[in-house]
Symmetry: D3
Subunit: 132 residues, 6 copies
């Protein structure tokens, strides 16, 4: 059970319900996952986080599946188990195929490897890579 427990829809205050309703409407789903129910104890954080996620993950220069895969890449790199489970589901819903998932994992693994080779060999930034 989460630190403060979960707030279910039926027990939620009107302000929390309003966020839950918007989450379900935006995501075209009929349930709320644990993350939101856990932070709902802090309605200000609930609303701010949801508004931020809605804005950032919405349509833009990047499509939905790319954004979800980037979210997943970060969560894997940080080794956040909940986030990996939830964003794997979200990425699949947005269109990530098994083939895309496998390539994503390969890239994430490789980046984590070369990030450390770079720091371990103390590689300096090439002048051509510097912004001026």
């Amino acid at each position: 059970m989460a630190t403060l427990g979960f707030i279910e829809y039926k027990d939620a205050s009107p302000e929390v319900r309003a966020v839950y309703d918007d989450i379900m409407a935006t995501r075209k789903t009929d349930w709320i996952n644990n993350f939101w129910k856990a932070i709902a104890h802090d309605p200000v954080t609930l609303r701010r986080t949801w508004e931020d996620v809605k804005q950032i993950m919405g349509p833009g220069a990047l499509d939905a599946v790319s954004k979800e895969m980037i979210y997943l890449a970060v969560s894997v790199s940080n080794q956040c188990n909940y986030c990996i489970a939830s964003h794997t589901a979200a990425a699949r819903k947005a269109g990530m195929s098994d083939a895309m998932f496998k390539e994503l994992m390969a890239v994430v693994g490789m980046a984590n490897e070369t990030n450390r080779l770079v720091s371990g060999y103390q590689v300096e930034i090439d002048d051509r890579f510097k912004t001026t």
Copy 2:
């Protein structure tokens, strides 16, 4: 200067040159960036790393710009300055616009935030997210 210094093309052994040549041919460029010149002191690691990168970053289910942006997302999350500089350049070369870069950063920031809200609130994985 990197830990073991850099191996320039003119000073490289034939096996190192062969990798350098393949890097330049594959990337359609005429120079080698510092990362490869730093790890070239270990020709086995140089070859293995390059072969891995070439395979992973090559055409597949994900396009080149998506892969570079994922690489950049991981490097930003890990805060590897060299990798951020080099993969920002690579992602741009592969087609990342400023608008795409900005959205990428927003997603990476958000993912790092919610990863910690999740762990801080000790959120359990929803049954629906579990693989079975």
Copy 3:
């Protein structure tokens, strides 16, 4: 079960018991949590770690609840589940209210977000922030 198992009080050597006794006396409690029982297989590490914790977490320029919240902030950022569970309990015992917990989480989330925006945008340190 931990790698080397747990050493219970009744099975402990005199030197381990001495540390356990000091932990319970200092913390005004009658039990030892798993962390100490796991590292007790290495009595030197047990004693050093406890002496360090006792010194660092004791009264000083920062009060006990602030120190426990900082400890929790780091543990959340590192996503160490055991540490989050144990230091949430310790922070509460030291006086952290639910309202304080919620603000703490908001700050930790925000810091993790902006840490990556900073590195992703490759922001240079302002001269005014440099120590001289």
Copy 4:
């Protein structure tokens, strides 16, 4: 220089200036630090990030200096150099003395040490620490 460069006040659009003005008014200062000038290329992210920071770091259950020290603790744990420099300055402005800084660092160091002892010894969460 940051990836997209900095947007100075005199070159800023009205919407960016509005955020800059609010930052300076809220913080009672007459300059804008590089972080904001770097992300100002994305006015939506600039506004969202500033609104979030203003809300989260404002008065509440925790005082300003505690919040800045927690921000600094996370930045140190993540080893974000810019963030360490800027939040050390901010924490001092909010009242962090040298003595408080030293204790903060000691706690951050200790937490990072025991986080790894816990994971390395594979310590299980005590039943008493579990939320129910």
Copy 5:
């Protein structure tokens, strides 16, 4: 269960079986651990990862137990639970005694502590430590 499930030997394609056979022969064992069975859904990643591991962990300037302990040190620092469990087992098989394990943990803990003291105090690199 892993994201894509596990591929057991009896259900594996010839190319996957070939890797499994090489793992068992190289490691002188008669079973395949979950990691390989999870990534076997991507036979290219399975082969590449195994070939890399075999090359890197094989005999060289460092002996097998040193390599396994370094692998474990990284896994503990990253707090990857699976990796800690599997590489603790591997290190023991390669000759790590309990005394060696305890010292390893002490070093990993200490390094994680001083890494943050260094960044928190913003310590500059000594000229003598710079490569030239």
Copy 6:
């Protein structure tokens, strides 16, 4: 310059000098590197950290070069530039050859890669790896 600046030997209090003297005697060297001079503003942390390092890095079940390489592996994984520079020097002084350094880097890179493949594929711990 470090946050609080450096305390040079000639300006040090007797208690700081005593630690400096012990560092130089133990390490058979005639200078103090910046890390100690930066934290010397907090003599309690200076002494505690030095006593811990001396105890942990001293002779035991692991030899000096192994311990320094493990320290370096963690520092590389955490991407702490100062620590990488100082512990590369320390490891070399303790006997790390270039060949050993190269293998160390290869292992650190590989571990960071597979740590993420494991979490990304959500691999469960094998029963055989569980401690009982």
